[in-house]
């Protein structure tokens, strides 16, 4: 599903953000990517979203060759990837429903399909009662669930979560993580990028640790599927 082969990324000025990285993640896996700030996590994310190209090596995601693909195909790759950010990135002038519907509307989906699917997805993340509430009236955990719903509407093959619990109270973080696990059980590959060792350890999932742009360990989780 995700295949990094000998990937290096250098930035102008001589920064080596990633150095000969090999990562292989199969369909249906739940993986933590762990590392301090500066370890290369953000670069890894940017490469996966094809915001940037690697300096060396090849990347395959869901049958797309990220190095060779044409620019106009990038939007279609991104529809296979549901992304969740630490800061939620919801549009404040739109309700929870509208935020999710927006993601569908701008990808050329019919109004009928939107009306059918948005409530369904919001029910999955447990927000059916707060569909028409604006983000500033929701708690951090609820906002992140809206963001997760938005990431899920395209029925992506992979969920990429960048510090998904970074801005949420610890007890609510657990809920989000459990939601991610549930989504994973339904067959979606989930990649959680975090610096939080405790979080990664609590779930006993496969953990890939990055340091100074290299993969320093890759441990299979105890309850790996």
């Amino acid at each position: 599903m995700i295949e990094f082969r000998n990937v290096s990324k250098n930035y102008p000025g001589g920064t080596h953000a990633l150095d000969d990285v090999d990562i292989s993640i199969d369909k249906g896996e739940f993986v933590f990517i762990l590392g301090h700030s500066g370890a290369g996590k953000s670069t890894l994310l940017k490469l996966m979203l094809r915001e940037e190209l690697p300096s060396k090596g090849s990347i395959m995601i869901a049958d797309y060759n990220l190095v060779k693909m044409k620019k106009r195909q990038v939007p279609y790759l991104r529809r296979e990837l549901g992304v969740v950010f630490q800061d939620f990135r919801l549009i404040p002038s739109m309700t929870a429903y509208e935020n999710v519907a927006f993601a569908m509307r701008v990808t050329n989906i019919s109004s009928k399909e939107i009306r059918r699917r948005v409530p369904y997805i919001l029910r999955i993340v447990g927000l059916e009662d707060k569909m028409h509430v604006y983000p500033d009236q929701l708690s951090g955990g609820e906002q992140q669930r809206v963001a997760l719903a938005r990431a899920l509407v395209h029925n992506p093959k992979i969920i990429l979560a960048d510090e998904p619990t970074g801005n949420i109270d610890p007890e609510l973080s657990l809920e989000i993580m459990e939601l991610l696990l549930e989504i994973n059980k339904l067959g979606t590959t989930v990649v959680v990028v975090t610096h939080d060792v405790a979080l990664a350890n609590r779930f006993h999932a496969r953990t890939i640790t990055l340091d100074h742009g290299r993969v320093v360990s890759d441990t299979k989780g105890k309850n790996a599927v």
């Binding site: 106009r72 790759l77 991104r78 990135r89 927006f102 509307r105 050329n108 938005r150």
Partner: protein, 301 residues
């Protein structure tokens, strides 16, 4: 793209205008002003052109032939005239024909010229009609040194003045129009850039959820085009009102040349579709071009 998506994106573009209503109003104002100035000069030019054409139709010249010119001189001159590009028509008037013409011109008193047939004081001539007033000087120069040519009678001063006025107006007009187009493009680009800034969160999210570039761009192009259309319609209304009221103002005045100008004014009814069409094309072009250029620079989508 499906219809409902297109409708959504167009609605989005129009709501962008409302989002930035002050800047949108400013853009519309400047674009309308530009169109009014350009359209006004256009209408002025068309009317002047109309008057000029009437004058230019008198672009005739007469080449008088010397008394002592030989038949050969006349033939050589005729061949030369025939070879010139800008002569649309010419004919030869012999001494006898000139006398006949003069008699006719004098009408009843024509008998006074009887008996002059053998001692005819009137010169033979070539009468030329040119294809344009601007070729008058050139043609005079080409012909005046031929043997047998006495004098050439042509309204060269008028030709110089009119051609000069036309050229100056054209150059000045183009410069002004150029400046105005650049100015409106800059202002509209800035307006669109403000909208881009206000919508940066949405744009960012659109990219992450896999919206195509067309989807991201379209609302902004719609915004620019709508500003263009509104300005075109507004400018059209203003121009119409000004044209009509100037016409009736001239007609009522006691200054006689203004009254005659108003009589010769081309009716707006014969021009309105050019004005509206030109405004719409210019407005839509300027609006959409300035928006797509600022999207490309700001967004790098």
């Amino acid at each position: 793209m499906r219809g409902s998506s297109l409708g959504y994106l167009i609605k989005k573009g129009i709501s962008n205008i409302w989002l930035n209503r002050m800047m949108s109003a400013a853009s519309m104002g400047i674009l309308t002003a530009c169109l009014i100035i350009v359209g006004g000069s256009g209408l002025l030019a068309v009317n002047i052109r109309d008057i000029f054409t009437a004058i230019e139709n008198q672009n005739e010249m007469v080449i008088f032939i010397k008394e002592d010119a030989t038949e050969e001189d006349v033939t050589v001159l005729g061949d030369k005239i025939d070879s010139l590009d800008h002569v649309s028509d010419y004919y030869y008037v012999s001494k006898a024909e000139a006398l006949e013409e003069q008699k006719e011109y004098m009408g009843e008193k024509g008998y006074l010229l009887d008996g002059l047939e053998d001692d005819n004081p009137l010169p033979a001539s070539y009468r030329l009609t040119l294809s344009g007033l601007e070729y008058l000087n050139e043609t005079v120069e080409q012909l005046q040194h031929y043997r047998g040519v006495d004098t050439i009678s042509a309204p060269t001063d008028l030709a110089d003045t009119l051609t000069g006025v036309e050229k100056t107006a054209l150059v000045l007009g183009s410069i002004i129009i150029g400046i105005l187009i650049v100015a409106s493009t800059v202002v509209i680009s800035n307006t669109i850039r403000l909208t881009l800034f206000a919508r940066r969160r949405e744009i960012n999210i659109m990219r992450y959820v896999g919206a195509t570039n067309g989807f991201i761009r379209l609302p902004f192009v719609v915004e620019g085009m709508t500003i263009g259309i509104f300005s075109a319609v507004l400018a059209f209304g203003v121009i119409w009102a000004i044209y009509q009221s100037l016409g009736s103002l001239f007609a009522e005045t006691r200054i006689s040349w203004l009254t005659s100008v108003s009589n010769n004014l081309i009716p707006f009814m014969n021009l309105w579709y050019y004005v509206l069409g030109g405004f719409l094309i210019a407005g839509i072009l300027i609006g959409s071009l300035s928006s797509s250029s600022s999207i490309r620079r700001y967004l790098k989508v």
